[in-house]
């Protein structure tokens, strides 16, 4: 490997990351002494404040894809990268206005708790669990795939075997966090990571600001000069197909409130008022962070240059780390690298808790054992599932190493928006929604979004596809949202109007509970 592409001091990077692991592990062990009941393991005892949970949600949401990916996309494609962050932010209003509080009041641990509340338990719960696992798997794969590229850049490990070993270490660490800490420990890891991430990005933003006298127009001047292209300030560099961009925008804005690992976080607070406060905190912090990435992206273009970024081992994703190196040398790069690793670790841990909870609570306890399992046994199954999912994530991460992170995350958003959100909204707001409607919408949304992706240019038929030599792409768009989201809403309606089903008692309980909080799950007091 040529020395020119290796930046920073590998030992320093590893040392700072090691320090992060030690400190967070210490905290996880401290806070997890009480981690025995199901409510502890799945929902952190419902004892987090709205502010704490809001910071943790921020930690969960600002994954490697949004930190490294968006900064990189702005550095390379200018304005089009910014469009991504707007969709990711505005999406939170759906969660704030329509979902967070009602969900908190209605459910216990998982998304399926709410969806199956007034419908037929087993089929709806199964479908919700299948969708939870599917969305989490794509999201998980995206994070693990990103780990490989990051390793290449930050630790100077360029051979596949070395990268695979590091992916395995990251996965094993994550399993340790989840097993020891459960939701409580994981939440603290998210909080620490979010604070570090926003602090690091904030320092870099101010640094770039000082260089340009806080004049963003001057920053743009330099970015244009470096790029040799004034079009970086305008939309259209990355998204050539107009319909495709609208399709992506639909998936982004409707995906967030259907992400199971985001929804599950609302159960970690004691009341719906605290759930509201969580989202308010999350919106402010996430918005602030995306404003930082706007400066960081154009700053990386102006100070590092897109040619140097593309040539670096991590490609587009290396824009933020390279900018850190340019500004603050080895130390700042080390800190930003450690934050990036921590990001992957924390997000993967959150996804693993969600997936293991869904399997143990929904599929094992409710569907297979029909609710006859003791909570202790259920948590035992959840822990074992977490180990299995962690192992699968390691294998998947090694296999997906080098795949485009942003594509995999956009895929997860598209599936969440198509398969989950329509059923969530219908079951919270539409009296005549039925089991058939839920099943048609959930399975229809999942199948249609997956099929359209398989037959899209992302998978085959173009130079940037997963299989560039194969050609079976008859669907012209990269993102299925514009078809699969309306289809799923339609199927939910169609299934409901063709079936007579109404559980008046459960519907009354769900509606009263969702709006008043009467009968909602209480916090655990130790």
């Amino acid at each position: 490997m040529p020395a020119a592409t290796q930046v920073g001091n590998t030992t320093l990077n590893i040392a700072i990351f090691g320090l992060f692991v030690l400190i967070t592990l210490g905290i996880v062990i401290r806070v997890s002494k009480q981690n025995t009941t199901a409510a502890d393991y799945y929902a952190g005892g419902r004892a987090f404040s709205g502010r704490q949970n809001g910071i943790a949600i921020t930690g969960d949401y600002l994954s490697a894809a949004s930190f490294l990916g968006i900064a990189g996309a702005i550095a390379i494609n200018g304005y089009d990268g910014f469009l991504y962050s707007i969709g990711f932010l505005v999406a939170w209003l759906v969660a704030l206005l329509l979902v967070a509080e009602l969900l908190r009041n209605t459910g216990r641990f998982t998304m399926a708790d709410v969806l199956s509340f007034r419908l037929r338990q087993r089929p709806v719960r199964t479908a919700a669990a299948v969708n939870t696992l599917a969305v989490s798997a794509f999201y998980l794969l995206a994070q693990m795939a990103g780990a490989g590229g990051l390793v290449a850049l930050l630790l100077g490990i360029t051979d596949r075997t070395g990268q695979s070993i590091v992916i395995a270490i990251v996965g094993a660490l994550m399993i340790v966090y989840v097993l020891i800490g459960g939701m409580k420990g994981t939440t603290w890891v998210q909080i620490i990571k979010a604070a570090l991430l926003i602090l690091g990005a904030g320092i870099m933003t101010i640094w770039v600001g000082v260089k340009y006298g806080f004049n963003i127009s001057a920053l743009f001047d330099d970015a244009i000069k470096q790029a040799g292209n004034a079009a970086i300030l305008n939309p259209g560099l990355q998204y050539k197909n107009k319909i495709d961009f609208i399709s992506l925008s639909i998936a982004l804005v409707l995906g967030t409130a259907g992400l199971p690992h985001v929804l599950m976080r609302f159960y970690t607070v004691p009341t719906s008022k605290e759930a509201r406060r969580s989202v308010v905190w999350a919106i402010w912090l996430i918005g602030l962070f995306y404003l930082f990435t706007l400066v960081l992206g154009y700053g990386a273009q102006a100070l590092v240059g897109s040619a140097a970024i593309k040539a670096a081992p991590g490609g587009v994703n290396s824009a933020a780390p390279l900018l850190a190196y340019h500004l603050g040398g080895e130390l700042l790069l080390g800190v930003i690298s450690a934050v990036a690793f921590a990001t992957i670790l924390a997000v993967v841990a959150g996804l693993t808790i969600t997936a293991s909870a869904s399997f143990a609570h929904d599929i094992y306890a409710q569907v297979i054992k029909r609710g006859t399992v003791s909570p202790d046994d259920e948590v035992k199954v959840a822990r074992r599932t977490a180990v299995v999912i962690g192992a699968l994530a390691i294998v998947g991460g090694i296999f997906a190493n080098g795949q485009n992170i942003a594509f995999l995350v956009a895929l997860a958003f598209a599936v969440a928006a198509s398969a989950n959100l329509p059923t969530i909204l219908y079951s919270l707001f539409w009296k005549n929604f039925t089991t058939r409607g839920a099943l048609m919408s959930m399975y229809g949304g999942l199948a249609s979004s997956l099929l359209l992706i398989i037959f899209s240019p992302v998978v085959s038929g173009s130079a940037t596809s997963m299989f560039p030599t194969a050609s079976f792409a008859w669907f012209p768009l990269n993102n299925p949202g514009i078809i699969s989201v309306p289809l799923s809403f339609f199927l939910g309606w169609l299934g409901s109007v063709t079936e007579k089903e109404h559980n008046a008692a459960k519907y009354a309980e769900m509606e009263v509970r969702s709006l008043t909080g009467a009968g909602a799950e209480k916090a655990v007091s130790h």
């Binding site: 505005v90 704030l96 308010v280 009354a508």
Partner: protein, 114 residues
């Protein structure tokens, strides 16, 4: 902890009574009258922005001053409206929704719903 599909008849009757009460109907109406139009508003504004970015890129590229384009200002305006709606909703929910829900919960406990 009650199993979900097996609530007692008495409990069911109580929830149905609450759901049919005028007080609950008002709470639901208050909530929906706020969140539905707000959702329509921000979605319409977001998609207007998306459509401008895709179909009116020349307009978005218009420079207002220095290198500051219409596109940048409208993009930042999306941030501003998201923050504003968040604050407006949180304040409204604290002032209007929570007291109404608390009053209803209190009446449910005392059994004197209107």
């Amino acid at each position: 902890m009650s199993s979900h599909n097996d609530i007692s008849e008495e409990r069911a009757a109580r929830y149905i009574a609450v759901q049919n009460s005028q007080e609950f109907a008002e709470l639901r109406k208050t909530f929906r009258k706020f969140v539905f139009p707000m959702t329509g508003l921000f979605l319409a504004w977001y998609f207007l922005y998306v459509i401008l970015a895709t179909y009116a890129s020349d307009f978005m590229a218009t420079k207002l001053f220095g290198n500051i384009t219409v596109g940048l200002v409208l993009g930042l305006a999306q941030f501003a409206t998201t923050f504003a709606i968040t604050m407006i909703y949180a304040r409204w929910a604290d002032r209007v929704l929570d007291p109404a829900a608390a009053k209803l919960a209190d009446h449910m406990e005392r059994g004197n719903l209107q």
